[in-house]
Amino acid sequence: MNPAAIRVLLVEDSPSDAVLLQESLAQSGLGGFDFTHVDCWADAVRCLRQNQFEVLLLDLSLPDITGRETFLRARAEAPHLPIVVLTGEANEDLGLEAVRHGIQDYLIKGQAYGRQTARAIHYAIERQQAEETLKQTEMALRESERKLREWNLELERRVAERTASLEETISDLEDFSHSITHDLRAPLRAIRSFTQILGEECLACGRPPAREHIHRITSAAARMDRLILDVLQYSRLARSELRLTPVDVQELLRGIVDSYPAFQPSEVEIRIDGPLPRVLGNEAALTQCFSNLLGNAVKFVAPGTRPQVRIWAERLGNPRPEIRGPKEGRNPKSEKRDEPLAAGAEPLPPTDHRSVATQHAARDTAQASALDSLNPQPSTLNHLVRLWFADNGVGIPKDAQDRIFKMFQRLDKSYDGTGVGLTVVRKAVEKMGGRVGLESEPGKGSRFWVELGAADQPEASGGAGGPT
């Protein structure tokens, strides 16, 4: 037996056809074939189960089975074996149908013998192998898809799990801050109140050191209470979703100035150089920001100085100079402004103005180009409003300017404060999609700015205008 010969199972009930086929194949010269010949399906099945074949040549009119049933059964019996069916001349359709059902090829008896048959056999083997490879690839692909789906599900499950745990954490945090309010502040209330009672009772005894100590206790307790409230305010802000609406900043600022005793004209001078464009913000958060900024502006002044604060707005990134009006119109206004201020304790030094203006222009250009690179849509460039809060306070050294927005940072402990106010400002502004910053020098006051989205186009709100 030729070991390289292709092992063929030939199922053919006509002995003459079988002989003819074998002989013509032997003469074809296309490789050796090692034939096993049976003449019915029952024997074929037995052979298939006992021996290894490389190809099955199957007649479709056997004594125990005929027609399409033959190749369907054969395919099922040997799913991976290359099969070539043999049909009569009148039954070519059956051959085609066989191919549609996973049979590798068909031969028409009496037409195809010799080289053609040999080629069909080789081709059937190759084709079956290719199909097998394809099937394996498909299976591997399907397996990968299945795994992918599994991982997706797993991922979704994990996301859901983590979301749930985050939600739980948030709700825990809320409970936590609530219990902080209740449980941490209650002892403080007792300390503050009883110390005050003690102080009142001590007034009668009139010993100054005791009164001084009592005063220190009450103010320390009051400070701690404010710290708790400020941190709470910050954590609430950090967790909350801020809904943005158009806000009339000018109106809001007037309201703040009118309602806080510390901002009254008898105490401080606060000027709003309007009109201020409307911004996109959250009114409650903006109220918090503005009152913190104004509070700082009037608080951090040199002893004996009457606080002066000026607020104005500029639009950023607008290429048309006439819309830049508020800024350009500011300088002459600033000169005029010095007159009433000069009547006060200490006017801002005139050099200050010029340096601000220069810095301003320089920063403006830098700002616009920075924005250009950040946001290529020119339409959004007109949509930024920068609100300035300039004071005549003690100023902030350059190297401290990054720190002051951080929690609990206090530059000068001789001023009353918790070091949370600016942290709240920055958090709130960032939550509204904006930015904060400052320009300052020790002894020359500070100019804080808050940048937010504009609520209207410059044309609609009227960019420039006189002081109000």
């Binding site: 309010t181 503050r192 109140s193 009883f194 009051a222």
Partner: protein, 158 residues
Amino acid sequence: MTGVKAVPILYVEDEEADVVLLRHVFDTTGIPNPLRAVKDGKLAKDYLAGKAPFDDRRRHPLPGLVLMDLNLPYWSGFEVLEWIRQQPQLRRLPVVIFSSSNRPDDIARAYDAGANGFLVKPNALTDLKRLVLAVRDFWLLHNRFPDTASVPAPAPLG
């Protein structure tokens, strides 16, 4: 308040310091109304129901006004309030919440449960004095109390 018998006030509060403080402010501002204090929700219910040790109404008079904290041991202020509103003899009793919470949902829940007012505890003594004077003016001076005696069925409360 001259001529009118000062209505007793029941203060439901677990922080002893807060009770002492309120007494101090009552004394220093000259509010004559007797201030009774209980330190949890269960005692509040017992007091209002006249159960022992509060069964002697001469010593433990039924209050005309209740000041109540929300965070209380055993029964929260909400639960006590809901219970009060379910008692025929007490359902008209003015109850003012006196809490350190200013959470909107706490405030809403208190009113839903039938609170007549919600006051946030001030943290400074001066503010507490101001608040107590306001309570005196509104609740003890100008406000007219319902006639709780005419409410039917003075049967034992549970």
